[in-house]
């Protein structure tokens, strides 16, 4: 029980009288990465939205068993929309995303930029960046905030192989520190660096 963050119990979702999700139950534990995979339209994104509380399930529960009431405040969600402002530069986007403005915030941003190899683009407006680079900026947010859980919808889409490696490495480090990760993708991840528990959604 100690390691569990969230319990998902018998979650079902109906949309326009069609069953999208049916009796889904699993647990999210610390130091565990969960990859939800399934076909297009199988309800991956809907399930993520239910987990973070954006959508109400038709039946079932999402239980916060972490013992931390603020778990969802300490959750980072990156969806299909990246949540970055096109009219702000990369650096400004990151500094507005910082949760606390401590003295070493500049250092944190610098490290994040270096990790994703975006230092030379830090003064560019994000609307002028490519799709993949914008995705990287939104993924960088996971590095600059203290969080207990990452919820990321298709982290690999629009990324090149190098960036996928970078993301995998940061996720690995994060899991070792006791974080948890839920993500979606189209396929099973076999050659992963981190211990992934795959969860297939049948609809």
């Amino acid at each position: 029980m100690d390691n569990s963050l969230i319990e998902i119990e018998n979650v079902s979702l109906l949309r326009n009288d069609k069953s999208v999700l049916k009796n889904i139950s699993f647990e999210i534990k610390k130091s565990q990465a969960l990859n939800l995979y399934g076909l297009n339209g199988s309800g991956k994104t809907s399930l993520l939205k239910i987990i973070i509380g954006m959508t109400e399930p038709t039946s079932g529960f999402i239980k916060n068993v972490s013992g931390d009431e603020d778990l969802f405040k300490k959750t980072i969600y990156i969806g299909h929309k990246y949540g970055i402002k096109g009219n702000l530069t990369v650096k400004e986007n990151l500094s507005y995303a910082l949760t606390d403005n401590s003295d070493n915030s500049q250092l944190i941003i610098k490290t994040a930029l270096e990790t994703y190899k975006m230092t030379q683009h830090k003064s560019m407006l994000t609307k002028n960046l490519s799709h993949g680079q914008q995705k990287k900026v939104s993924l960088m947010k996971t590095l600059i905030t203290n969080s207990l859980l990452w919820v990321i919808d298709e982290p690999y889409s629009a990324l090149d192989d190098e960036s996928i490696n970078i993301f995998n490495n940061t996720a690995k480090a994060y899991l070792e520190k006791g974080g948890a990760l839920i993500m979606t993708s189209h396929k099973e991840i076999k050659e992963s660096f981190f211990t992934t528990k795959n969860y297939k959604i049948y609809s």
Binding site: I52, F72, Y77, Y96
Partner: protein, 221 residues
């Protein structure tokens, strides 16, 4: 600290968006110039009587112009999602967003409109009333409008719907505002109207954050 952070962010974004922030003032000038040309055949004293009322109506129309933009950009780029999921000070955050919207698109006309009225020959007392009623009336209109904007945010073309939703709710503000200005023009008492307008403002100040956060959550579902 955090509040100031959001306001500076909004101002930075507005300054990068180009000339859009001057749009309300330009609109006001256009309406007033056209109005003055069209009623130049009317006697001067009748024109002066109409002038503050006409300015009030044009300010109200300008306030409707970009209401739907309050949450639109945040909705489109996904910042709104993240903000609502954090579930941390949503109501305050919404109020700050409305405040910065008012500061950027309504405050300029609240300041410019009385100045124009003075230039066109309105007496000082009525100009002051005009300024006061606009100062109380426009934030109320922003608050009401933000509820409509939040309700219709998931629709692609919500501009017409927002205008239709807010129009009946703007009627009381328009009645009190123009009545106060008119009373002031004829040297009558207008404190009742001002009190009622402030009352409306505080009511919506209380209702709006709750209504907006609920409406936004529903629309993201």
């Amino acid at each position: 600290m955090k509040i100031l952070n959001i306001i500076t962010k909004e101002f930075l974004l507005a300054s990068r968006s180009g000339y859009e922030i001057f749009m309300p003032i330009v609109y006001l000038l256009i309406i007033i110039i056209f109005f003055n040309i069209s009623i130049s055949y009317v006697a001067k004293d009748i024109m002066l009587e109409l002038l503050p009322l006409m300015i009030w109506i044009s300010c109200l129309l300008i306030c409707i112009l970009n209401l739907e933009t309050i949450f639109k950009e945040d909705y489109d780029d996904g910042t709104l999602e993240m903000f609502l999921i954090k579930n941390d000070g949503i109501e305050i955050g919404i109020l700050i967003k409305i405040l910065s919207h008012w500061l950027l698109s309504n405050l300029p006309i609240v300041i410019v409109a009385p100045l124009i009225a003075m230039v066109l020959g309105l007496d000082t007392a009525t100009t002051l009333t005009l300024f006061l009623t606009l100062l109380i009336g426009t934030p109320t209109m922003s608050l009401i409008g933000s509820i409509a904007a939040a309700l219709t945010i998931s629709l692609r073309k919500n501009k017409i719907l927002v205008s239709i939703i807010v129009l009946p709710m703007y009627v009381p503000i328009l009645i009190f505002g123009t009545s106060a200005v008119n009373n002031s023009f004829f040297k009558m008492n207008y404190s009742t109207e001002l009190t009622l307008m402030s009352f409306l403002f505080f009511i919506f100040l209380l209702i709006t954050p709750l209504a907006c956060s609920k409406a936004l959550k529903i629309s993201l579902d």
